[in-house]
Structures are given as C-alpha cells and as structure tokens.
C-alpha cells in the first residue's frame, strides 16, 4: 500500500527518486567530521526561521507596541520565553557555526578552482546573516537595539558619496522611529530571509556540482555514499549544536534592557559579541581617521574575503603549499578572535555601571510641570485624560485650545477673565509657573505623562 503510494507520487513528481539520488550522492572517501559544520549552520538557520515565524505570530512592529508585544511573548505566551531565547541565542550559534565552517574551508583550501563561486556564495551568506542579526536587534525596541541601530546607521552614513543617502534610507524618517522599525522589520523577516534562501540554494547547488574537496592525503578515487555515514556525522554534530542551543536558551533568557529611551543618559550600550571586533576598531581609531574604521577596514575585509580564491595562487590546497596565505589568514582570524574576547571582557560590569549612574537625573520641564500641577492640587477640580475631578474645565487638550499668553494671564488671575470662578490665582514662583505652563501646553491629543 505504502509502496504503491510512493510509486505513484514518484511517478507524478519525481521527488522520491530525487531524494534517493541526493542521499546516495558519492562523496570522496576522505569526507568526514570536518565537513559537518556547514550542515550545522543550515540546521540552525532552519530552526531560526521556525522560531522567527512563531515570534511573528505575536510581534507588532510599532514603537508603541513592539516592546510590550515582546514582553507579552516572554510572559504571556506558553513557552514564549523559550522561543524568544532560542531565536536570540540562535543568531549567536549561527555566527559561530559559520565562522568555524569558514575557518575550516580556509584551512583546507576548499575555495580553490573550481569552487570559487561556492566560496563567494558562502561569503554572501555570512553578510546576509550579519545583516539579519543587525536588523533583528532593533525589533524588540529596547535600549540595546535602539543604540545598535543608531550606531549602525551612523556607520553606514559615513560611506563616501552614497553614505548620507544610505543612512537616510535606513532611517526612513527624521530619526529612528516608526518608519525605521517597519523598514528593519521588512528587511529582517522578508527581504533578507529571501536572500538567505536564494544564497543557500546556490551554495548547496554548487556544493553538489563540485562535491566536497578530496583532502591532499586522499590520493585514491574511492568514494562513499553520503547516506548513511556522512549524514550520520552531520546529524551528530547538528544534535550537539541544537542541544547546546536548547540548554543555553533554557538557562539564559533573551535580554531585556528596558524600552528604547533616547533621552536616558544612564544606559551604557554595547554591541552583540559578534560585532565586538569591529566595535574595538571603532574605539581605537582616532577621530580624523574615523572613516578608516567605519568604511575602509570593513570594505577591505569584505573585498579580501571575496578575492581570497584569487589571492591564493597555489595549485595545491595542501597547507605546505600555501604557507603565506594560511599564515596571513591565521593572523586575521587571531585578530578577530582577540578583539572579540578583549571587547567582551572589557565590557563595563554592573559595578562600573552603577558608578557612572551616579549624578543628577535628566531635567524634564514637562515632568517638572506635572509635579507643580500635583503640588497645587489642580486635579481636585480638573480632569486630564481620565484623571481628576470634573468640577472645572477638562484640561486634556489645553495645548490645542489655549494660547500661551492667555493661559499665563488666566492662571495668575482667573477672576479677571471669569468673575465668578472658584479657581484661585496660581501662586507659585516664576520657575514653577513656567514649568506648569509648559506642562499644560504640552497637553494635546494625548497626555504625554
């Protein structure tokens, strides 16, 4: 019965024999554990797409709702905290898997002719993944994401000629706001995953076309079938990776830095660890050379990765034949790892943060005006929004109804305008009076405080 069904399906679609063909692919006998890292990155990407779709069931891309919707996922949705943690830590795991995969491919010289385009598709995948991570950071609309986007947009704006336009296109509006969030959202959940899918297909197609590289030591022509030996290795490594991700996500919740607040001077932003190497370069580069750190070094790095198959002229992939390239590559790899570790280790801890937190709170005239309003007990006779008693006029929209000069004169001497009013003259000092007026005039469509 099942066999008949399979035959029917295969006759109509060819999918079953295609799968069998794929599984029984002949790979060099020397294919082994080191060839499993790409599969790990692929499996993590699949999981990331799944957890992303789940988050999208609740997430709302609007500045007034994003933070709360993520909080709801964390607190109100069954296993919501776990799915969000999986998605958050998944990004880090993917970056680690891709990094290890690239280092392995680099050391084996597997980017050499005829596999140059496989390498380039892989480099593109790396940067699409980093772009997805960058745009994803803003979505929870928390402090860290806000400042990461802020710095990222500033960095893009420093590019020569097109920089300012690129920055403006990323912003969408005058500053990071509703328009920026929907842009980042569209990139994060639609455009970049589509690009990711296309590059994954291209990468896998090219891998199939040329097959895994036979190691220099394997001089035979012997092959093995991908299924079951290599697939089993893949699945062991994938299981270890997914298992570790599960444990990390179970133990460490996705971070909450409080809602985005550009006026908060107490927050110390730092980038995700995988941007730390670049962050350190930004810190160490003196002002006049800023463009070196924001544009020249990143561009050179991308160019170096893309040009690698042509920079390495050795015919053989053996390390002994490529000492200079491998040595140079190891220096770059060591620099990236070193800067990353240095950056993560030198992040200000809680104690240092508490130290810089000392000092005055940010002065806010409108908040100060609200305090005067409360102190003078205005709410005993006036309503703002739903607060107060409606003995006197509703003040909810004062800023739309009254001119400043009139409001000032009225507050000082209400009887002058309405002889039989019960409202007493406002007797506060000039500073408090100014604050009260500023607060009342700020009341427009919706009370801000």
């Amino acid at each position: 019965m099942l066999a008949t069904l399979k035959r029917w399906l295969d006759d109509r679609t060819g999918l079953i024999s295609a799968l069998a063909h794929f599984m029984n692919e002949a790979v060099p006998r020397s294919t082994g554990w080191r060839n499993t890292l790409g599969s790990l990155a692929g499996a993590l990407l699949l999981l990331q797409i799944l957890s992303g779709v789940l988050l999208a069931l609740y997430y709302v891309p609007h500045p007034e709702a994003a933070y709360e919707s993520v909080k709801y996922i964390e607190e109100g949705v069954s296993a919501g905290w776990f799915v969000r943690a999986l998605h958050f830590w998944g990004a880090s795991f993917i970056v680690i898997a891709i990094f290890c995969h690239m280092v392995r491919v680099f050391l084996s010289g597997a980017y050499k002719k005829p596999r140059e385009m496989t390498w380039i598709a892989g480099v593109c995948l790396l940067f699409v993944v980093l772009g997805t991570a960058f745009t994803g950071q803003l979505l929870p609309w928390n402090q860290m994401g806000y400042w990461a986007a802020n710095v990222g947009i500033e960095i893009a704006s420093t590019a020569p000629l097109i920089g300012p336009a690129v920055g403006q296109l990323m912003l969408g509006g005058e500053a990071i706001g509703a328009l920026t969030l929907t842009r980042f959202y569209a990139l994060h959940v639609v455009a970049l995953p589509l690009a990711l899918g296309l590059f994954v297909i291209l990468h896998l197609y090219l891998l199939r076309r040329h097959g895994p590289l036979r190691t220099p030591r394997d001089t035979s022509n012997a092959t093995i079938s991908f299924f079951p030996a290599q697939l089993a290795r893949d699945l062991v490594v994938i299981s270890i990776g997914l298992g570790a991700l599960g444990v990390v996500s179970y133990v460490f919740a996705g971070p909450d830095h409080g809602p985005a607040d550009p006026a908060d001077t107490d927050f110390v932003p730092h980038p995700e660890w995988y941007f730390q190497a670049h962050y350190q370069i930004l810190k160490l580069t003196p002002g006049p050379l800023k463009i070196l750190a924001t544009f020249v070094i990143p561009t050179l790095f991308v160019a170096l990765l893309l040009a690698l198959p042509w920079l390495d002229r050795a015919k053989s992939p053996a390390i002994s034949a490529r000492r200079v390239v491998v040595g140079g590559g190891l220096v770059v790899i060591a620099a990236i790892i070193g800067l990353t570790i240095f950056g993560v280790a030198s992040q200000p801890g809680a104690a240092e943060r508490a130290e810089v937190l000392g000092g005055e709170e940010t002065y806010d005239m409108i908040a100060a005006g609200l305090e005067v309003y409360e102190k003078e007990q205005c709410r005993k006779c006036h309503v703002i929004g739903v607060d107060g008693r409606d003995k006197g006029p509703d003040l909810s929209h004062t800023g739309l109804r009254l001119k400043e000069d009139y409001l000032r004169e009225f507050l000082r001497d209400p009887q002058k305008f309405v002889p039989d009013t019960e409202m007493p003259p406002t007797q506060v000092n000039d500073k408090e009076f100014n604050e009260l007026v500023a607060y009342l005039l700020s009341l427009k469509n919706m009370p801000e405080l």
Partner: protein, 157 residues
C-alpha cells in the same frame, strides 16, 4: 534556413527586450518607492528647555521633546542637551549627541568632562575633544531667553 535564423534572432531580441523592459519597470517603481525618505527636508523647530533659574553653573542634562511627523505617525522624539548658566547668567547649551557615532554623552561633574559610553570619546565643557575617537567637538546650540524667563533652542526636526 536563413529565414528560420532571422526568425530565431528576432524572437531572441524580443525575449531579451521584454525581460529587460519589465526588469527596468519593476526596478524603477521599486527604486522610487524605496527612495521616498530622501525627499525629507529638515526644518528648524523651536524647543522649550526650562526656566533659566533651573540651571546653575554646573551642566544639567535636559530632556528635549521634539514633535516629529514620523510618516503617518505623530510622535515626540527625545534627545538630551546639556544646559548651564554662562558667566553672564545666560544659557550655555551643548548637544548631548556624540559626534563619533551619535550616542548620548554623559556629563561627569567629578572630572568636568563629557564622556560617551559607546566608544569612550571625551569632551571638555566647551565641547572640544579631549580623548577617544570623536572627529569633531560637541555641537553648541544657540539658545535664547524669552520674556517669561524660559530658555529656548532651535534644533533641526
């Protein structure tokens, strides 16, 4: 035979031309749509900071609320400026936005300097760069006092 070749050639040109045409059309609409934010033009807005007596000779961080039309969404954007009284009692207003990569600097009264938490740029009270990566001094913002004693600034919005 040459008729068949001509026909084949003409059809190839047609296929290539139509594909190119549609790619161009879709690309043009996409480009215009995506580039919409480029037509934004900044206007200066006058913003009220507070009564001058709120500020002494030490810098005080002040929350600035800038009414913003964010596309379809009206919102109030916030940023921080630092205000103190100059020797004549007038307002001395300095932007809290770091000139390196636009993080908000913090005033450290004990060290009498602004320090950016992002990349550790340091600025003197007059805004000049003392250390770290910032390429330019902090912006000094022109301010004035109105008849009621309130300090106002003009900022791009």
């Amino acid at each position: 035979m040459s008729e068949a070749v001509d026909r084949r050639r003409a059809l190839s040109i047609l296929v290539g031309g139509l594909t190119g045409l549609w790619t161009l059309a879709v690309g043009a609409v996409t480009a215009v749509f995506v580039a919409s934010p480029l037509k934004l033009s900044g206007r200066n807005k006058e913003i009220l900071l507070g009564d001058m007596t709120s500020f002494g000779f030490e810098f005080r961080a002040v929350k600035v609320r800038i009414p913003t039309e964010d596309g379809w969404h009206s919102s109030v954007r916030q940023r921080v400026v630092y205000v103190r009284a100059d020797e004549n009692g007038g307002p001395d207003v300095i932007s809290g936005t770091c000139t390196h990569l636009a993080c908000t600097v913090r005033w450290h009264p004990d060290r009498q300097r602004f320090i950016c938490p992002c990349h550790e740029g340091e600025f003197a009270p007059d805004g000049t760069v003392l250390a770290g990566p910032p390429p330019a001094p902090l912006e000094r913002i022109p301010a004035f006092i109105d008849g009621s004693g309130n300090v106002h600034i003009r900022v791009p919005a």
